[in-house]
Symmetry: C2
Subunit: 464 residues, 2 copies
């Protein structure tokens, strides 16, 4: 007979104590497989428990497969393999926060936005509005394209501010460039060869490799990918950043745009992926319309996000697909659900619809323009040989430092002075052969005016 | 000389009007490539404009590549390809909302949750708290694993409620099962063969196909995948739902669990993906611990989400990776950013930390248990031959309708009566040879008590 000491004053119910005891006996092999357990009545009398308590324990054991019930016969121990005692530490380790590099005073990071300008109060208001009423829409999954009303608002915004010609049915909402590319990897055939800019986003290489997607890098000139290089590369899908090339900061002129569109038109499997990265920020002249708006042959896949215009933590990106690709998406990839929570889609939708987004962009354009001007002015005021490069757009610029230091020396000396700067060479897939002075990238979005002034002084002392 | 009529009372600035006019002339080929434009001074005098206005227009044209400036010489029209006039409709189409199927009164959908029980007021409160203070953390991207504090809260929750043994550094937060699998497709080699349950999630097939991942389906018996079938299949990664098999609703007994773990142990490249789908809802006995907790050999990849426990629109899923896979993830997939907005991660984190989640689960367990009991009672009260199957868990059950109708007839007749039900056969990858009465799946989460009672009556009239 099974003999256990059950604690009546324990917080654990009696049936659970009984269940745990019997389970342990079975696991440790003390009760052998095939053994018949005492009937509910017998065990309850023996242990002075109610029959219900024994029954609850037995049901639990049956459900977990430790015992089985044979009709009109009784309960038998199953033929299980005993579990070894777990010797691992069962408690989650204690949380340690990563320690920040304290020696860095100013970081010219190219990631991030101006933290003090996020529209917290508007966002709070919209959040409240969105969740204030009982709203079934917040709980019913939207389709794989994303919230239709947000897509509608986006189509209108993209048309008016970027010259993108599409309707909301062509827009797919996702969580970031990498998630949009995941869709492309599934849409396009295995023999696709992607052509990426050199220099360019360092993450693209890694992404293509991890996804076993074939790709080739194409050396850009001042205007972007040269047509001769494009033909030579064998790529059939070009991934480009015409609005503000990363990292060189150049804007692709209309002539090159037309050439690339013509190249795409020549063959059925050719496409251009236009990453309209930080296109919202152009400080002189009118914004340059997207390549997508110039395309008449369903050859451009347009991508954008709110990472620069709002915050990288918003995690909302979108892509405009040509109609014939859309049909494949609907047909083959219907298993995909939009990864963005409904709440966030609704908040962002109101943010755009009610005009807040436009006002926010105008405000940020002015803030970033001033930061950029301050940075340029601070550098020019120094009596030293630094050239400034990169079009009057975006959230970073480049400097050519003519002091005979190598790129790594420049970074190193800046670091010693407490300033983090970034070299351009890490964005190249091949080592730079160019012997001209190295280029340093300065992102200015996250720094305050005061920090920019102080950081430039430190850089001057470190470099000259 | 360029002659344009500029409207001084227009809302468009003069420089933009001038820019537009010149651009148009160039695009239409009226000013030929290579033509020298008038100097700023000359044009401003001629058109009676300020030199600044002309300069602004010229800068814009330079930036877009229509003209170029040659030092000490002047401005020249670039060698561009003229754009054809865009004949497409430029305005986004007017939004049409999809019309819902009005003939359906009650839908026994297996998707969705009880809408009236979402903790709106708590969520609202937590939202307010999270965004009430200026919080830099809301704007700085978290790492590819997700918000560390949420991972910590999850590790503790998973240990206490599901017996999952891990620390927060093993948890990766993403947006849904498909996004977690995308990571696995990148982590595992090309020769990986996934074994999936038959019957099982219909979306898995599509997902594996779209990602060109090799897979094979394994026919399950009452306890899950039989070992003999597993060996025969050639699969090296099994994707299973031991807590509550979808769609059969069965719980995998301990013996089968141990067998599968032993199978995995035999070879280095073998793994088990445990989708702990709707495991939070078990109505009798203690919750059955996850397979992951029984594993001592880093062989189980544990997946879970908040789709059933909170809402499918929350879009937050997680996976626990064994340490050696974690190392590969860190090394090769650092380009991935966590797709979940920081705001949502922080809200959910508080929701768990402050005990709301546990209380919500307890409440929902009781609500769903009552719905389940009501559904079973309503069916049993009918004087007709319907068997009820599926363990006492989850958000759906199965019925075997013994009225000689085929599955499609049952669905069809129910539909005519205004009730949507789902057959099990669509979850099979091969046609069912079984001649026994068909199985119908009834999801009850989204229906109210009243709706359940009425729907069952309609089903009875339709079927008997």
């Amino acid at each position: 007979m099974l003999t256990f000491v059950l604690e009546t004053d324990s917080r654990q119910p009696l049936y659970q104590q009984l269940y745990t005891h019997i389970k342990k006996e079975i696991q440790e092999g003390n009760i052998k497989p095939g053994t018949k357990l005492p009937s509910k009545r017998k065990l309850s009398t023996y242990l002075n428990l109610s029959q219900n308590t024994v029954q609850a324990a037995y049901i639990q054991l049956i459900e977990e497969g430790y015992i089985s019930s044979v009709e009109r016969k009784g309960f038998y121990v199953s033929d299980i393999i005993p579990i070894k005692t777990n010797t691992r530490d069962k408690k989650p380790t204690i949380l340690k926060k990563s320690t920040k590099d304290r020696s860095i005073l100013y970081d010219f990071s190219i990631h991030g936005v101006d933290f003090s300008s996020f529209p917290f109060s508007t966002w709070r208001k919209l959040m409240r509005e969105v969740i204030n009423e009982y709203d079934k829409e917040l709980l019913i999954p939207c389709d794989s394209f994303g919230y239709y009303r947000l897509r509608h608002a986006l189509a209108s915004y993209l048309y008016h501010s970027r010259g993108v010609i599409c309707n909301e049915n062509q827009i797919i909402i996702s969580s970031g460039t990498e998630y949009l590319f995941q869709i492309l990897f599934q849409l396009f055939k295995d023999d696709t060869i992607y052509g990426i800019e050199n220099p360019g986003y360092e993450k693209l290489n890694q992404m293509f490799n991890a996804n076993r997607a074939k790709f080739t890098t194409i050396d850009i000139d001042k205007d972007g990918m040269p047509l001769s290089q494009v033909y030579k590369s064998g790529a059939n899908i070009l991934c480009i950043t015409p609005a503000h090339q990363f990292p060189t900061g150049e804007i692709m002129p209309i002539k090159r745009r037309m050439q690339l569109l013509d190249w795409a038109k020549e063959q059925k499997n050719r496409y251009i992926v236009e990453d309209d990265y930080d296109s919202e920020f152009k400080y002189s002249g009118k914004p340059i319309p997207a390549l997508q708006g110039l395309d008449h042959n369903e050859k451009v896949i347009y991508m954008g996000s709110f990472s620069k215009s709002l915050s990288p933590t918003i995690r909302l990106s979108y892509m405009v697909l040509p109609q014939h690709l859309l049909n494949i998406y609907k047909e083959d990839l219907s298993y995909i659900l939009c990864p963005v929570p409904m709440m966030d889609q609704k908040i962002l939708c109101r943010f755009i619809e009610e005009g807040y987004f436009e006002r926010h962009l105008n405000k940020m354009r002015s803030i970033y323009r001033k930061k950029r001007e301050l940075l340029i002015k601070s550098i020019r005021q120094l009596d030293c040989d630094i050239e400034i490069l990169g079009a009057d757009a975006g959230l970073h610029l480049l400097i050519k430092v003519n002091n005979n230091m190598s790129e790594s020396q420049l970074i190193e000396e800046a670091y010693k002075a407490g300033v983090k700067v970034y070299g351009i060479s890490k964005y190249y897939t091949k080592p730079l052969l160019d012997k001209s002075p190295p280029l340093i990238i300065l992102g200015y979005a996250t720094l305050t005016d005061n920090e920019i002034i102080k950081a430039v002084k430190l850089l001057h002392n470190a470099w000259f």
